[in-house]
Amino acid sequence: ELFQNIQVQKEIIANIRTKPWPIRRKLKVLKQAREIVLKYEGRLTRTRGYQAAGADLLKKISRVLYNIVVLFIPWEMRIKKIESHFGSGVASYFIFLRWLFGINIVLTIMTGAFIVLPELLAGAPFGTTRSKTIPKDHLASAQDLDTIWSLGARLSSLIFTGYLQYSVLFYGYYGNVRKIGSAGYRLPLAYFMVGMAVFAYSFITLLRKMAKNSRMSLAGASDENYTFCWRVFCAWDYLIGNPEAAESKGAAIVNSIRVSISCIQQTQINLSLAVLISLRILANILVLLSLTGSIYIIYFVVDRSQKLEQEKPELTLWEKNEVSVVVSLITMIAPSAFELVAQLEMYHPRTSLRFQLARVLVLYLGNLYSLIIALLDKVNSMSSAVSRNLSDSTSYLATISQSTEDNLSTIIPDITERQNSTLTRTLLEMQSLLNHTVLYEYNTRSQQDPCWETYVGQEMLKLSIIDMIFTVASILLIDFIRGLVVRYLSDCCCWDLESKFPEYGEFKIAENVLHLIYNQGMIWMGAFFSPCLPAFNVLKLVGLMYLRSWAVLTCNVPHQQVFRASRSNNFYLTMLLFMLFLCMLPTIFAIVRYRPSQYCGPFSGQEKIYDIISETIANDFPLWFSKVMSYVTSPVVVLPALLLLFMLIYYLQSIARSLKVTNSQLRLQLQNVSYSKLNIIMMYFTRLQAPEGSDKKPEQESDITSMESSARSASPPRRNGSITNFESPVRHGNSIRTITQSVSRPDIPRAAGATQSPTHTYPCHMLHSLISRHSGYLGSTSGSCRSKSYHNMAYKPCTRYAENIHSDPLFRKTLRPMHTEPAVITAQSYVGHRAHSTRYVIVNEHEARKKLMRSNTRLPRHYRLADEPTEIVELYPRNVKCYIPRPPHRSHQPHLSEEEEEEDPKSSTRRGSFRQSKRPRPLSDRHQTTQFYIGDTINSQLSMEQGLYGDEEEGDQEEDWVNDPQTNIRGPESAHRYGEPYVKPKTKHKVEPSLTESDSASLASSSDQQNSSTDQYIQVIHNKKKYLKSNAKLTKTKSKSSVKLNVSGTNDLVCSNV
């Protein structure tokens, strides 16, 4: 309906951006389409109008929202600026950083909302419980900040033994009350769940991002056949806007091209293999040594700090922060060492970069792991100490109670029997009192043992802080100071500082990204024990963003060998995922393995941390639920579920593998097919060459009409040649593109010896369809045929939309330019090329169906085409005129006959049947048009084929007037003006059902068609051919009887209608 028409127009508007036209033309088309939309939107029914208005409103709102969202994307301008200076490689680091920032924000919200806030609001206030009070001996040092000499020390002391240790920052602060506040918030449960949710969320977001990336890369990097092409055409980063960056980019391009040349030539490095191998082995040994060394150092330092702690009551600043400083130092220094080592190896730069990254990652992981293992070791010893304490205390208790009992028992005999009962009561009271005091004593003693969870959290936080300090320091020292020195001292130095030794610091994307990953790993590792760690990380990342971007813009030069951001995207993400997994392991291990501290934290008093879940299920859920849970967690369910999972994984993997195989096979097939197509097409081409010469003039004209851009149509001489001629359809045709690529410039002499009638030589169906596909183009020795095909495809969507559209002349009016022309052209082209068109239609059918979307986008083009030659209404008749007379001159006739020679009996029958079937259609459809059609058929019987269509054209006009009163909306004057285009489709449309249903001869759906008839021009054309096609098919493949049957069927219909 009209609504759909408007939809079409809107799609034109929507897709106009994809058209390679100058802006002026786009605007014109847009304006036109807009006018239509605005004009006819009011004609819709009320509900439709509301719908449209609603959709509009929605669109507007979404646009506004989008704009707002864009506004709130943090650092967008900053990143863009960096991108413009250094290219997208450097920017990818910042985008990655921003992405991590987003993740951390979510983590912070999760922990903040579900753990920290409830504890702050509803938890026991500070100082009320033991875990929330600072022990007296620590209180002194916590308040006595002035005695400590530096801010860092103050900070570290704060974290380590000060207020901060007993704050929401760490695990130990949280109370173990099952429900807090008036609402009964289950804090311990929430703590556990959030701790797990942090990992779950990270996993999910990471995997989703990776899946998205890989989907994108699947779409693109399917085959690596284009190394040189990409290196040439995609090499330049069009975002670069800085001469230095441009220079280095140019150098990088030269480098990469040289490298790939050398890859092709396979020139060996002119070093003997033995030396190379030994060098590489040496390098690897060095790397291994440094790795083990770093791990050992970390372990040693942790061990030492532990011992120091036990020995000395008061630790110096260095001793306190030794561990994290050492770890940070190693993470800073070792990568550079690896880089030096990598120079020994003389790998291909890309390989060496990968090696470097892998080594650095291993180093980081080793650092983290040795740290956490050392910490857990310490935790182990701590918990064993606690248990020893515990056993001590119990024995102490036992001895005390023993002694009291002794005391009491000595007293007992002195007392009379009578008092015995009361005495025993007092005795018991005393005993319990004693017990209490003993317990209290013990408690105060054990309070000094810090809970290990807090300890681990502290270490992680400290590590993170020290790491931040070192990062800032390295940026300032290595980049900034160096940059200053190089810039200002280069004049007074004996060598060129800028190009020789110190140079400017390079921005090492890979290392920096790895550092981010490492940092995130620390956060994940410590998040469970220190809920505020993500929040801290958010701050850190913000700071890092500003500092780095400033440093990059002021004192860095881009890296020479940019690790291609596009490829590395998933590489980085994979590393992050790896990191996440490995950082999750220790936490999970600690949760499962170790007993939570007895006197601090939300899980105190439990045997294991995860007991909270089973406890909650047992206590707070209905009985059936715990029953169900017990079933679910029993091995009976878990094992099969695991098995099922494995099976599923295996199944999916095998499917993926088979899909991959199919993919490669299909690609191979595609190649083969395109080659065989090439041959066949060339045959056709040579066969149809002969008539082309005489067709040149009309060809040109139709070319112009079908031309896409004015520039092209302005230069017809070029298009004259047969070769260029074939290009234009190629441009327009979608699915045919790949084929026609090969067709468009076939070697004529080569194909000259091709067989005369390919249909006969290649009877197989596939080839046949293939040929038929191309006959549309190759058969277009006359340009008209080509344009026809073009229009067919192009207008297909239109017809689709218009399928049920009620006849509306106004709409037609606006569309007219584009419709009339194709109609006219096709009419004549049809005459000339029946034989070709018969086969050709199939393609269109397929295409229309498959590429509906694409052809939709194509629409505006034709639109434009239409408005180019004829923006004035009056032009059309003229066009029609000049086209109508043409067919006879066009010398399609020889061609036609040529075709007919191949299938003369069939074609004749076809023609006959065509006419016959054409007649009944209108009759069945509409009684008003009968007149016309009868006349038409008479004409056709009398005249040649071309004559038939010419007449039909005129007849159309007549019919239009006949129809006018019938269509309700249209006014008389509009009918006069737009009658011609309007009718045209109608008549053809009549033919359509008979075509499609000719086999069954059921033509009943007339009423339906009547409604839809008006907009069917293109379909009409198409259907005509289709009809022929079907007939041809019938005649060819099946017996003639079927055709006759068909014909007779239609005849019957005619009779009945009359």
């Binding site: 508007i13 929507a14 106009i16 951006r17 994809t18 390679p20 100058p22 802006i23 002026r24 786009k26 605007l27 847009l30 807009r34 507007k60 646009r63 506004v64 704009n67 864009v70 413009s84 997208s88 994108m216 890369s217 779409a219 693109g220 399917s222 085959d223 056949n225 284009y226 190394t227 040189f228 092409c229 990409w230 040439v232 055409f233 995609c234 330049w236 980063d237 069009y238 975002l239 670069i240 806007g241 800085n242 001469p243 441009a246 140019g250 391009i253 030269v254 091209i257 040289r258 040349i261 291609r564 951001a565 596009s566 995207n569 090439l678 593109r737 790949t738 690529q741 468009s744 410039r745």
Partner: protein, 190 residues
């Protein structure tokens, strides 16, 4: 964001109309105005503030090519030529807006591929042939490659991307090739 390309005439009244008619989005509006001012800033004495009468103003290539967006681009002259109506690199406001709309991040890939082809097609014959490739390479690498290397790379490129073996790349070849390039897909290069 569909209407996000520029109207040709820039007086504010028309922009307002367009805006009212929902032809352009808010963000577009500001970017359009910004672009117009950038265009105008290139030659204040040449470009009038009022575009109601659609004055035929062309800025010479020297001015266009000196913009920071283009001045380090080895293909700046080609870009200007492709987008200018006269093919000489002298740009009207329309051409200017056109260029930026295509070079912008939001331009569709098809469009980019099309114009990329135009840019690399130095002799405007709708094919990228060997001479075009050589020019491209020399511009790209600042003539640092030797002749042998250039020849070899050209051969390789044509070998890889030429699907119909006619020794040159048509638009279809080019699109086929470039739409598969990860760089082209992810980082929007052109």
């Amino acid at each position: 964001m569909y209407g996000c390309f520029a109207p040709p005439y820039f007086p504010h009244t028309i922009i307002k109309q367009l805006h009212k008619g929902n032809l352009i989005a808010n963000s577009c509006l500001s970017s359009l105005l910004r672009l117009f001012h950038r265009y105008r800033d290139l030659a204040l004495q040449l470009v009038p503030m009022d575009y109601t009468n659609q004055p035929e103003v062309r800025l010479p290539y020297e001015l266009i090519g000196s913009m920071p967006e283009l001045k380090d681009n080895p293909f700046r002259q080609r870009i200007a030529e492709v987008f200018s109506e006269d093919g000489e690199g002298n740009m009207t406001l329309d051409d200017f807006l056109d260029m930026f709309s295509v070079l912008s991040e939001m331009a569709p890939q098809d469009l980019k591929a099309y114009y990329a082809f135009k840019i690399y097609d130095f002799n405007n014959d709708d094919f990228i042939c060997k001479s075009d490739l050589e020019k491209t390479l020399n511009k790209l690498t600042c003539n640092e490659l030797t002749e042998d290397e250039v020849r070899m790379v050209c051969e390789k490129v044509i070998d890889e991307a030429d699907l119909d073996n006619d020794g040159r790349l048509s638009l279809e070849d080019f699109q086929h090739m470039i739409m598969r390039a990860p760089d082209f897909l992810r980082i929007k290069t052109i």
